[in-house]
Symmetry: C2
Subunit: 125 residues, 2 copies
DNA sequence: CTACCTGCAAACTTTTTGCAGCCCA
DNA sequence: TGGGCTGCAAAAAGTTTGCAGGTAG
């Protein structure tokens, strides 16, 4: 199966540590501080592998393509359309919606995501 | 403001007509049947313009980046993780969720999207 | 006329992949 | 020692943009 590698460990550490929702390139530049000769290809390969084993989630709702996070509990996101920041929305979880949609569509649901777009308090002023 | 152009009209027609959620390239190839020498750049420019005036929506939830649709009423999407098809979920709309999130976050909400991932009935068999 | 729009092609951004060598178990 | 993993670089995929000429109003 999988082996350990320093690169993979540091990539995961960076993602677990940050509160932001970074792009692959941001992760690359961050890991580079610790492993200066790491390659971008390795970052992409590991982000993909970590996703496949559920350690990392790629978020994509409302135009936030290619952003990752190491926070594995279910939560939603909101993006400020002015300054671009992405924040977690932890207060609201739709516990029953997957069952409803399963009944309505016949799909076996494995996951759902919710994204909001708007203007953040700071940009509203 | 904006002028009319045959290219723009055909692009919009294609999007209104289809029940799928096509990529820019699919739209390009479809429009090409009617306007053989249209360029991909024109398709991208018009998809962007049509988005900005609300005629077209770019959907992005659960890995469906770069897919467009001409169906402008609010609805959600579900993607089959096996065959890749995207279907509309029309039966369920969360009318009150934007207000809830506005109160919880202080954002002024302008939009929300919901995406589901799972396995479609055909692929389950 | 005069903006806006188009086709074309080049440029850019983001992500993937082939390869030779390295390293963990 | 073998198979996964890495760095590097080239390639692929997706999208944007500059330009010169066309066209709607």
């Amino acid at each position: 199966m999988h082996r350990h590698s320093r690169q993979r460990k540091v990539i995961l550490d960076v993602l677990k540590r940050t509160k932001t929702h970074p792009s692959a390139d941001w992760v690359y530049r961050e890991v580079k501080k610790e492993i200066p000769n790491i390659s971008l290809g390795t970052v992409y390969r590991n982000l993909k592998l970590l996703q496949s084993i559920g350690e990392v989630t790629e978020i994509s709702c409302e135009g936030n393509e290619g952003r990752f996070e190491g926070n594995s509990h279910l939560h939603y996101h909101i993006t400020c359309q002015k300054c671009g920041q992405i924040k977690d929305v932890d207060d609201i979880i739709l516990h029953d919606i997957e069952g409803k949609v399963a009944r309505a569509t016949g799909f076996k649901i494995t996951n759902h995501c919710v994204g909001f777009a708007g203007i953040c308090p700071a940009c509203l002023e």
